[in-house]
Symmetry: C2
Subunit: 499 residues, 2 copies
């Protein structure tokens, strides 16, 4: 019966991976006029997948397995599979098929509306779509986990087990440390000079092979993946050997693509590190979006912004961009990467102020879901809060409430996982540094295998058998706390600003 | 009941269009290691689509409709829809689901094997896949139309109503005219000079916008389509507003991409000209592959190789490729396009010898399907026949039996539609020239709307309500015959060779 239940779950995973193909193609390839039909395709497939996910025979199998000997006496993989497949099943079975189809269809339409709205900075083009989407998400929240607060019910899709009150409790000390750090950086007499990275030209034709080589070096396998171009970078998985990342290109800024690709390739390394033999089942799936983000942020910030990484990388960059970096040394480039400067766009934010962006979205979307803020009032609430946190007001909605795709895509309850990921990343990296004393020598020589192998063993191989907190605790030997991130930010940015 | 039957057929069409997304992505984007999972995806979706196609309730609806008043008293669209949906249903219902899944799965594996086999010119890599594929196709033939000859049963998927004995009868006079034309060209003292198109460099970055502009000018709508790069050019439709064409690029040859894109855009114009309101139903579907090919060949050869087309196109080409074409005049370029020269690769063949390639494949695949030739003997049979028809022997299987993807993809019975398309194209173009006396003036001015509008009205708008022969006869006023093609080839190539 266990084999049958797994076979069914795998068949569902294969069809769900076809949804991922539709989604990737929609983001990267879809002709302008084709969005309507793509919505029909997505809705039709979502309905089929949902019907399979809630198949009564599978429900009976899982019910039987949960009462049987494997549920407590099987291997850890078997126990986790029975427990989690059953929990997934019950959650799915509480969603009406009409709602599932409607969410898929509205998601495609809203994302296309978002592209146009952002391009024209026109909130009015998006508002009716977001209104509809938040209504659907509230309905989803009420259906799938009636035992939970609405926001917690949604967040559970991305960060299983997380509760918003705990997240607030974890974010508060982080916020209490970041606000004075930003202030101290602003007021310091030492200001890092970033002209080397902002005043030159980096031909995009030279950036492409350069960032691809960096991705290969940290371990991304292009036989099992791709790199493409989109306005909003992302990583998605179309199958166990088909992980696709995207990036933006900016001729005036090498970090845009370089750190974009280090970030997305970090996600990709996690996907490519999952257990192939458990594809489509909990031991072969990712733990949470927070853990996913910890992997991307670890490679992007903890590795990619280190001096030792640039000792290896700078000669390559010099060869690729001789006009821009011909005379650069590691200290100059590293200094240029350490600028803390409040800015409007989250995905362009520095490592320090980034978390303020996330906390703001977390508070705003929670207020909408919990009924304390109307969708129509989002732009004003956004701008007021932004001014309070960052000391400046977005010039238009394209630089404010319209900048992110998440809400249009129905990803509500998703934002907090970004900062949870930063917290996990710093704690994991500190543990890796304790475990391997020569890590910086490795990076300086372009060797990233030891770090990746450790992440594969401690994080990737666990699948989603553990939730985020116990997973990080097991890997690092201490309970999750923001202290490691606070310490890392203060140390690295404090040094750059002479604090 | 009619509305319900149409609704069901449209839902099937939407899911079948997801299969097209998987196929397009497989051909253009798939990472090397991802083919296995893509086969699982294709097989899972094919099984679902087949289950829907053979849904018993739909069968009952169609049975009822066929006996009802609409079947004989409805609009032409309604009558054709009832008749053809019912025929499709019965054909599908005779296929075992296992066979449908197996064909989808084997198709993905065989196509990936073909890519590797062709690259290494290794017949042995492909042989077991083709052996399996032909066995499956024979089984499919026997199941779906037990009343027909096996080859006719397969050909009916691509060219409804066509019978191989009739096709042989139509090909024979064509062959009888082409063989002496090729010989006369070879022996003529006048030989067209093609150095202008073969001895210069055409930077690919300049080819891209150039061929795209040409496609736009003949009417291809990029809001409803794309152009991408593949080893084997094709056109596929992912939805009513999502028609995608591909091409190859060759820096040493402008015709490779230019005529490739004219060809595929010709297919695309047909797809984009279908009736949107009948999407997924016979009045909004293409008539046959032969008619499809007639549209591509008409734009590629009848329009694109005309002197008047080059009067418009040459100034653009000169501007795009000043080093190669700066001094060229229309007569020189046109002469260079008129070379008849036997060659190994069908997709690179000139317009005259092309049909000999097709007839050879038609005879070989028929022999395999009908049991007169073993798959293992295909390479030798290919080479012997090629030597007989073309006076030379392929140097290896990559230039012989391995060159085309069709058999690997399960497209057996497909090849004859290429030459049928040439026959229809010549007959349609002759009728268009009778209808519009100023067509060459139009082309010379870059105006293609009158021709396209006529094709839309006479061919595209008919959907598949008529089979190929009556459709061409209605549009041209005479029964289908190869005479128009013979006349067109002898006139145009005879002039170039001073015959």
């Amino acid at each position: 019966m266990f084999a049958e239940a797994c076979g069914h779950a795998r068949r569902v995973a294969v069809l769900a991976s076809v949804e991922a193909v539709l989604g990737w193609d929609e983001q990267t390839m879809l002709p302008r006029a084709a969005a309507g039909h793509r919505a029909d395709q997505a809705a039709a497939l979502a309905a089929i997948v949902h019907r399979l996910r809630t198949d009564a025979a599978q429900g009976e199998r899982l019910h039987g397995l949960a009462a049987g000997p494997l549920a407590t006496g099987g291997s850890p993989e078997q126990q986790a599979t029975i427990r989690l497949l059953r929990r997934d099943f019950e959650k799915q079975a509480r969603l009406p098929p009409r709602l599932v189809e409607e969410l898929a269809r509205t998601g495609v339409g809203a994302q296309q509306a978002w592209v146009a709205a952002r391009a024209g900075s026109s909130w009015k083009m998006l508002e009716p779509w977001l209104d509809r989407m938040f209504a659907l998400k509230r309905e989803q929240a009420d259906c799938q986990r009636p035992d939970l607060d609405r926001y917690d019910s949604l967040m559970d899709d991305y960060e299983p087990g997380a509760r918003w009150r705990d997240v607030v409790g974890r974010f508060e000390p982080l916020r209490a440390a970041i606000v004075p750090l930003v202030q101290a950086c602003r007021e310091s007499s030492t200001q890092p000079d970033d002209r080397i990275l902002t005043s030159a030209t980096y031909p995009i034709d030279a950036q492409r092979p350069f960032v691809r080589d960096v991705a290969v070096r940290i371990g991304f396998d292009f036989d099992r993946g791709r790199l493409d171009t989109t306005a909003h970078p992302f990583c998605t998985t179309l199958g166990p050997d088909d992980c696709r990342i995207t990036t933006r290109w900016n001729e005036r800024s090498l970090p845009t693509a370089l750190y974009g690709v280090l970030h997305e390739a970090g996600h990709g390394l996690y996907e490519q590190g999952l257990r192939r033999d458990w594809y489509g089942l909990p031991p072969g799936e990712t733990a949470s979006l927070g853990i996913h983000e910890s992997q991307s942020r670890l490679w992007e910030n903890m590795v990619g912004r280190s001096t030792s990484f640039w000792e290896w990388c700078l000669p390559l960059a010099r060869a690729a961009f001789p006009a821009a970096l011909g005379d650069a040394d590691v200290a100059t480039v590293h200094e240029a990467l350490m600028v803390v400067r409040p800015s409007f766009i989250r995905v362009e934010a520095d490592e320090v102020t980034y978390n303020l962006h996330v906390m703001m979205r977390f508070d705003l979307e929670r207020a909408v879901v919990q009924g304390d803020l109307a969708v129509a009032d989002l732009p004003a609430a956004w701008n007021d809060r932004f001014e309070k946190d960052f000391g400046m007001r977005p010039p238009d909605d394209a630089h404010g409430v319209l900048q992110d795709i998440h809400w249009s895509a129905g990803l509500v309850g998703y934002f907090p996982t970004y900062t949870l990921g930063n917290i996990y990343a710093a704690q994991l990296m500190a543990a890796a540094r304790r475990r391997f004393s020569g890590l910086d020598d490795d990076f300086a020589a372009g060797r990233f295998q030891a770090l990746l192998a450790w992440l594969r063993e401690e994080v990737h191989a666990a699948g989603r058998m553990l939730e985020s907190d116990p997973l990080v605790e097991r890997a690092t030997g201490s309970p999750v706390q923001a202290d490691w991130l606070v310490q890392s930010l203060w140390e690295r940015y404090g040094a750059a600003y002479g604090l």
